[in-house]
């Protein structure tokens, strides 16, 4: 067994933390795009499409992220698509993120007064124009703080991807523990690194919330 100094542990964890960051960013950006599309479908007014999106949100909010990853990981190969842990984690987290973001953003869009819709409709705007020029610019301002807040959940969610074998921070922690037999130190360091990623995001979200409340008054 090779000797691991504390620095070796931290260095190797830092290398793995890059994957945590990359997976979080990918899932967040892709999830945001899918979430925005779902939001459009849901607000466009077709009752069947609305119900479908609501079911989608219910499904992802009512089941464990781990199960979602398992189903992607074990389900896709059945229809002939071989997925690596990276693809499965990215896909699973993207779907998970999109469901939550679409729900958060729906609340923001609904908080825009009905008068805005009516006024823009009376100006002869179609749905796309209403969204683009009237509703989204206003909803965006309210949407930023909870969206930043949710990004913390995405970063923490990536830890679950370790279970399907994707080597990120948590998985690296387990591997290093198996080599060093120092779980207290290693998992302590892992926790500190997650904290260093997540806490600034939490603080920023809180700061934005405070600012918004200030403006609202």
């Amino acid at each position: 067994m090779s000797e691991f100094s504390l620095w070796d542990i931290v260095y190797n964890l830092l290398l793995a933390a890059r994957w945590t960051v990359l997976l979080s960013l990918t899932a967040f950006v892709l999830g945001g795009i899918v979430g925005l599309l779902l939001l459009m479908v849901r607000t466009a007014g077709n009752p069947w499409a609305m119900r479908l999106v609501r079911g989608y949100v219910e499904l992802f909010q009512g089941t464990p992220l781990l199960m979602q990853l398992f189903i992607v990981f074990f389900g896709l190969p059945l229809i002939g698509i071989d997925v690596s842990p990276w693809i499965a984690a990215m896909l699973g987290l993207t779907l998970f993120t999109s469901a939550f973001l679409t729900e958060i953003w729906r609340g923001c869009v609904e908080s825009i007064g009905l008068g805005q819709w009516e006024a823009s409709a009376s100006l002869g705007m179609n749905f796309r124009q209403q969204m683009r020029y009237i509703i989204l610019p206003q909803a965006l301002r309210i949407a930023v703080p909870p969206t930043v807040g949710f990004s913390v959940q995405v970063v923490k969610g990536t830890a679950v991807a370790s279970i399907i074998g994707f080597v990120e921070l948590t998985k690296a922690g387990t591997m290093i523990t198996n080599a060093t037999y120092a779980p207290f130190t290693v998992y302590g360091c892992v926790a500190v690194m997650y904290f260093l990623i997540c806490f600034p995001l939490s603080l920023y979200a809180r700061h934005l919330e405070g600012k918004l409340r200030h403006v609202a008054r």
Binding site: T63, F70, I71, A159, C198
Partner: protein, 223 residues
């Protein structure tokens, strides 16, 4: 390549799944009751004007809310024995859930406490109620009532999060699913069924909490 789905392969193992559901429920109930109690006390400490305790609670809340549940679980199960604290799989899972929900519910309940109008508390003081009485009758009940929906959602999230407890071999629903797919190689079918069971459990839990909330707050508020 056509895959033949065979959900029948799970039927012989239904007892395992049921045991898993029972254990997940146990974890959730204990975690929710103790976790929310812890959160209530911590929220009280945080709202009180004792600076040291308030700061300690603040650090606890931020530490837990900004690290993944899985890492907390590993730290408790694998890390604590180094300090001489040895826990069984079930104890570690319950402890992790309590600590986790405790932190989230602290923040949620604190928000409810802060929303109580100052005049209510002053009125109670003028009625010569002591601190415990004020907290019990004037602060915590209306505060809990106000934040009950948010708290319910958090309890559901913790229930769903308990699926990662399978990783320390706590024999809950996901563990049962892992075991079954290792025996019959029907991974997709097993996880599909387990997911459906989780969905049903989360719907039932949400519904149960709503009824419980009505029972707690609506009826007695007329007394």
């Amino acid at each position: 390549m056509a895959y033949e789905f065979d959900f029948g392969a799970i039927v012989p193992h239904w007892q395992l799944l049921l045991d898993g559901v029972v254990l997940t429920t146990e974890l959730t109930v204990i975690g929710a009751v103790v976790g929310v109690s812890l959160g209530t006390l911590a929220a009280w400490a945080r709202a009180s004007r004792a600076p040291v305790i308030s700061q300690i609670v603040g650090i606890y809340v931020e530490l837990i809310r900004n690290t993944p549940f899985l890492v907390q679980l590993f730290f408790i199960f694998f890390g604590l024995p180094a300090l001489g604290v040895k826990l069984s799989e079930f104890q570690a899972a319950v402890l992790a859930m309590i600590v986790n929900l405790g932190a989230y519910s602290t923040e949620i309940i604190r928000a409810g406490i802060l929303a109580i109008p100052k005049g209510q508390i002053e009125a109670a003081q003028s009625l010569a109620m002591n601190r415990v009485q004020i907290f019990r009758y004037v602060i915590i009940r209306p505060a809990l009532k106000k934040i009950w929906p948010a708290l319910s959602s958090q309890i559901v999230i913790v229930m769903l999060g308990s699926s990662v407890c399978s990783q320390i071999a706590a024999e809950e629903l996901t563990f049962a699913a892992n075991y079954i797919q290792a025996v019959n190689f029907r991974a997709f079918e097993v996880y599909f069924v387990a997911t459906a069971l989780y969905l049903v459990m989360s719907v039932l839990l949400r519904w149960g909490l709503k009824i419980f909330g009505n029972f707690l707050f609506e009826r007695r508020s007329h007394v």
